[in-house]
């Protein structure tokens, strides 16, 4: 089964929240995964870390953050499909 309805092209919408939004200086962006990429959360994280700076710092190993795909919490091996919303945020502190 293809991971995307449009094989070979996976563009996801990234959403940055709370401390991560401030650290990245952005509320979100679109990210196109290239044909040779595996379309998973881990791939997205690797691409972001390659930018260095606050992306490498906040998403580095040992840093606590959470990932949700289409509003459901996932682990980094979660596969992505074209149009998915991928949110990155710190551990929650509501209530």
């Amino acid at each position: 089964m293809p991971d995307s309805l449009t094989p070979g092209l996976v563009t996801v919408r990234l959403v940055y929240l709370a401390r991560l939004r401030e650290a990245f200086g952005s509320a979100g962006e679109s990210l196109a995964l290239s044909l040779e990429d595996e379309s998973s959360v881990a791939t997205v994280l690797a691409r972001l870390r390659e930018r260095g700076g606050s992306f490498a710092l906040e998403l580095g190993s040992g840093r606590a953050f959470r990932v949700a795909v289409n509003h459901a919490l996932v682990t980094t091996d979660a596969k992505l499909r074209d149009g998915d919303e991928v949110a990155l945020f710190p551990p929650v502190t509501g209530g």
Binding site: A18, F89, P90, V92, T93
Partner: protein, 151 residues
């Protein structure tokens, strides 16, 4: 079963009355209200003067609904309400309301506590505190993950 995310304050008495209204099966109503502490009694940290609650619109309601569905599956309850505020708050302001009705108190207490523990650990809200020294994002508490893991 109702969940709401809102900037306005809530009237706990009115919400409790509405949830149990006319239901003679209800023998127990357990309620939790979370409020903004100024922290001045708890540490040497500067006093909190304001709190901003940010959330993840779209995910927040889904997350709360799934927590309520989970509670309904685990506990023999009649109804449940979760209201969580977002936006700018001040010390002593109300943040969150959880109300559970059931026939007997054990299930109402258990479900109310479960809802709070899961909300604290899983619902996408973040607190940012303002003090005389500036603003800072509140750190997640390990004890909140432990509380949710108990269930």
């Amino acid at each position: 079963m109702t969940v709401r995310v809102q900037t306005e304050d809530f009237d706990a008495g009115r919400e409790i009355a509405a949830l149990r209204a006319g239901d003679a099966r209800v023998g127990a109503v357990a309620t939790f209200i979370g409020t903004v502490r100024d922290g001045s009694d708890a540490s040497d940290a500067p006093k909190v003067s304001a709190l901003t609650l940010e959330h993840y619109p779209g995910m927040t309601e889904k997350s709360l609904e799934s927590i309520v569905i989970e509670a309904r599956g685990r506990f023999n309850i009649l109804d449940a309400l979760v209201v969580h505020r977002v936006g700018a708050l001040a010390p002593t302001d109300q943040i969150v309301l959880v109300v559970v009705t059931s026939a007997h108190r054990g299930e109402a207490f258990d479900a109310c506590r479960f809802l709070m523990d899961f909300l604290k650990a899983h619902a996408p809200f973040w607190k940012k505190e303002a003090t005389s020294e500036g603003t800072r994002w509140v750190d997640a508490r390990t004890s909140d993950d432990e509380a949710a893991a108990r269930w």
